[in-house]
Structure formats: structure tokens, C-alpha cells
Symmetry: C2
Subunit: 185 residues, 2 copies
């Protein structure tokens, strides 16, 4: 039986930190077992948007960049943030053109996910983009991007071999992989 009311009680909340992307607070709580505790919550101002762009040769465009927070280089699908109030699909179209220069004629929503629900409310939405027309990328100043065109099967292999570790990229690639392997696309 799914319980809809929270077994947690919030007794107070203090502001900790804010920047253009996240807001951190610490709540005084009563835990489900009735004991007092604290809960640090990282609120994400943007929704994470991921785009799996597949062209007529069954190739997808992977974007490579150094990720500051993990201190590692990462190969990913085109991704970006959707500000509050912006339409998810509009943000997906904007990110695809910004990061890869491509425009897609067909869009399919593949799924959504809470990326790290023990600490944050970050939500991710991911799309399949087909019917692609090429153009010139126009990345943000915080992005120094490389590009790699691989077949979908190669991308799926990269996921299964642990060469792609970015959760949002894996989510989009495996969702589409499941649909393909079960002959639903």
C-alpha cells in the first residue's frame, strides 16, 4: 500500500547557500521513527534535459567535456538545464542546437528520473531526437566540447562497458536500447 503523506515532520528550516544553479537548506526534522534529526536538501533550480540524437545512419552524437565536479573527462549525450517556467521540449531543442548545431524534426519523450533523491530534488527528462539537420554548435563559455559520432550499438556498448558514466546519458541510451531490443521501435 503506497503511503502518500510524509512520515517525516519538518520543524524548522535554515538557508545555507545559493548560486544560480542550486539552493541548499538544512531542515530540522522528526524522523519516521520519531527521533529528532536534520536533513540537508539540495534544490536544483533547473530540470536536467538530455537528448539522444540519432541520425539516418543510426549514429548518435556524443559530446565530451571535462566535468569539474568529478574531476574527470566525460562522454555524454547533449544535455542542458531547463529553467523553471520553460517548456521541457523547448529546452531540449535549444540544448541540441547549442551543443551540436543540429535541428531535429521528430521528438519522443523517453522517460524521466530523479537523479539523486536521497539529497536533492533534481529531476531529469530525456528525449529521442530524429530527423536531424546539421548546423554549427554554439556552446556556453563554461563548456569546451569535443564530439564523437558512434552507432547506437557502439554507444550502448560504451554504457555496458562503463565508458559512459553520466547517469542521464545512460538513462536515455538504455531506455532506447530496451525499446529496440524488445522490438517496440
Amino acid at each position: 500500500m503506497t503511503q502518500v503523506t510524509s512520515p517525516w515532520k519538518t520543524k524548522g528550516s535554515r538557508f545555507v547557500y545559493e548560486n544560480p544553479w542550486i539552493h541548499v537548506r538544512e531542515d530540522d526534522v522528526v524522523q519516521p521513527d520519531g527521533k529528532p534529526g536534520i536533513y540537508g536538501v539540495v534544490h536544483f533550480k533547473n530540470t536536467a534535459i538530455g537528448v539522444l540524437p540519432i541520425d539516418e545512419d543510426d549514429k548518435i552524437c556524443l559530446v565530451g567535456q571535462y566535468r569539474y565536479a568529478i574531476e574527470r573527462y566525460s562522454w555524454e549525450i547533449p544535455e542542458g538545464g531547463c529553467a523553471e517556467g520553460e517548456d521541457y521540449l523547448d529546452a531540449a531543442k535549444r540544448e541540441l542546437i547549442e551543443e551540436t548545431g543540429m535541428v531535429a524534426s521528430d521528438w519522443t519523450r523517453l522517460g524521466c528520473s530523479h537523479l539523486s533523491n536521497s539529497v536533492s530534488d533534481e529531476l531529469a527528462i530525456f528525449y529521442l531526437a530524429t530527423g536531424l539537420t546539421r548546423g554549427t554548435p554554439n556552446p556556453e563559455g563554461t563548456e569546451e566540447l569535443a564530439y564523437k559520432h558512434v552507432t547506437f550499438d557502439q554507444a550502448l556498448d560504451m554504457v555496458m562497458q562503463g565508458e559512459i558514466t553520466d547517469a542521464l546519458s545512460i538513462l536515455a541510451i538504455t531506455h532506447y536500447g530496451i525499446l529496440r531490443l524488445s522490438n517496440k521501435v
Copy 2:
């Protein structure tokens, strides 16, 4: 060509917040385009561990709990944190027995992922657990858990229909789904 040195420069760093689970800092940076900026980084003290337990009837045990950070009820695979210095597999065994009471004789590492690499360094490792023996769960005080036994196909359907939104659960279920559908298990 994969670039291994960071195109970011860190000029300074200030402590923002710490609790038993996360540490937040704000770095003064020079962005890849040479412009000054800031980067708020959420460091996770624990590695997230997920376990996909499949029994001899092809059923998996899903764990339901209210997630404070997203203010929603969530059905997930058994999950927990691995402290620095603890072995990932030991943590997986501990979490499985704590949350479900089950002991597994066979363990297979399915994959790993950075859950939210634009802001945090949170790493997740996920396992398949088989050869299960049932016992009595012993959850933490912060957990008020419900249980649901579904076949693997039902769990995969729940993922594809968006009924399971927890990233780590989706990652484990889709990885195993890909292996099954491509006849690799």
C-alpha cells in the same frame, strides 16, 4: 581526442556546509573560456550502492519509502551508502540484509555511474544479487519501508512507464534488462 587536463582553473575555495552525508563548497574558478566564475560543488561522503535482488521465481524485491528531498513516495531497489574505506560489495551485502533481510550467495557488478556530475561527485555502484535466502529486515530509523515483490519484467515495465523514477534503480534494472534482451545472461 580525450583531453585529460582540466580546462578549468581553481583560484580559491570556501567551505559552505557539511553534514554527515554531504560537504558543500564554492570554488572561485576561471572557466574554459578564460572568464572568471564560481562553481558550487556538492561532495558526497558515501558512494551510493544499489542491489537488484532476483529470486528463483524471477521476482525482485522493491522497497517503497517516502523520499524527503523530492516530497514523493518512491519504489526502488534496495539501496544504501558505502562509507569511504568500506568495500563496495560489503556495503551492498549489508544494505541488502538491512533493508530486506535477504542474503545472496552470488553477486555480479552490473555497472557504475556519476549520478549528477554538473554539481556533485556522487558515484553509484550497482549489483545483481542471486541465490537468495530470506530473513528479517532491520531498517534504519530514517527509513519506514514497504515491500513489493514483482517479476523482473514487471519491474522493467514500471521503469519504462515512469512508475520507478529513482535513477539508481532504473540504472540497475535497465542494465540487467539489456543483458537479458541481448541474451548475455
